[in-house]
Symmetry: C2
């Protein structure tokens, strides 16, 4: 099982292949390992605690957000869960069909939809979260509490950087030009 073992070598190969163009090695390693860790953690949790209750990672995250924050507008749930509004519509539909989530109209604003957990959803999360948190502790088992805080803080700064300066950065890169539309996706009727 290669992968992580070969990052240093991969960087050298990349540098050689670029013929002397400088490479930001440390920054590249952060991005590579963020994604590698995210995949590993997600896979482990899906195949341990989530599989048994037939929940995908995304479905669990959505449940978790609603569980923690209580009845919420869908746009906030999508934001917190890190998925698009359109994706949330589908996931919420699935969860609603399984009796874990219910939707309700906003009392004053007819555009909004509120999501909340059903009793069954509440019970599921109460039972599931401790097991989930246990595995979070497992995957970080090689890190001390202080290490965890350091890593989490570093990651938080990455998230902040993208959220606060990403939009500006993208505009600068594209030079004001409209971003190329996705090749896939809906077309005008």
């Amino acid at each position: 099982m290669p992968g992580h073992r070969s990052i240093a070598e991969a960087e050298k190969l990349a540098a050689a292949r670029l013929g002397g163009i400088p490479v930001r090695h440390d920054q590249m390693a952060v991005v590579a390992n963020i994604y590698r860790a995210a995949s590993a953690v997600r896979q482990h949790l899906e195949n341990s605690v989530l599989r048994g209750v037939d929940l995908t990672w995304t479905a669990f995250v959505v449940l978790w957000v609603i569980w923690i924050w209580g009845e919420s507008e869908t746009r906030h749930v999508a934001e917190e869960a890190g998925i698009s509004k359109g994706t949330l519509t589908g996931v919420a539909r699935t969860l609603e069909g399984r009796g874990l989530v219910q939707r309700a109209d906003h009392p004053t604003d007819g555009r909004l939809v509120l999501l909340s957990l059903t009793d069954e959803g509440q019970e599921l999360m109460q039972r599931l979260f401790p097991a989930f948190n246990e595995e979070e502790a497992f995957v970080t088992g090689q890190l001390s509490d202080a290490d965890c805080r350091t890593v989490a803080d570093g990651l938080r700064r990455v998230v902040l950087q993208v959220e606060e300066n990403g939009e500006q950065r993208r505009q600068d890169l594209l030079g004001g030009a409209a971003p190329a539309p996705r090749r896939s996706g809906r077309r005008k009727a």
Copy 2:
């Protein structure tokens, strides 16, 4: 765009909701931020350098792996790219159709398929990687080189923990019972 701002609060809410059951806060924060950072980074890169050349994140990673390692067996590419074999088949088909990747039979083992970049694929990566690396530097812009090494090292330990002990851990959790099959997926004919 809340999210990161509320993690501490979310943890308190979670603890309250669990009614005194201890929560591993630091570990929870690491997992939450790993995933948040992965989403943010992926989104930024897709919407900056990748969109213009009509590549998804996964397609780029696959190209990168083949570019760095040269002609490779598909199983190794899937492993390095962090996707399943089945997914790679589809992605490789897409990239082959766009003339960026070519496949070849293994000279001695008829089961294997080798993937390599076409000339066009080579040129694309040569042009694309510097821009990609530039954005890797941007998203980590709030971290010093030393910070980057620290964070990358911590993440590497998470990956290692899952890779080296994850399988055993899952078996222990399930108590030897066969893992529940996915609800979705192919059925016996």
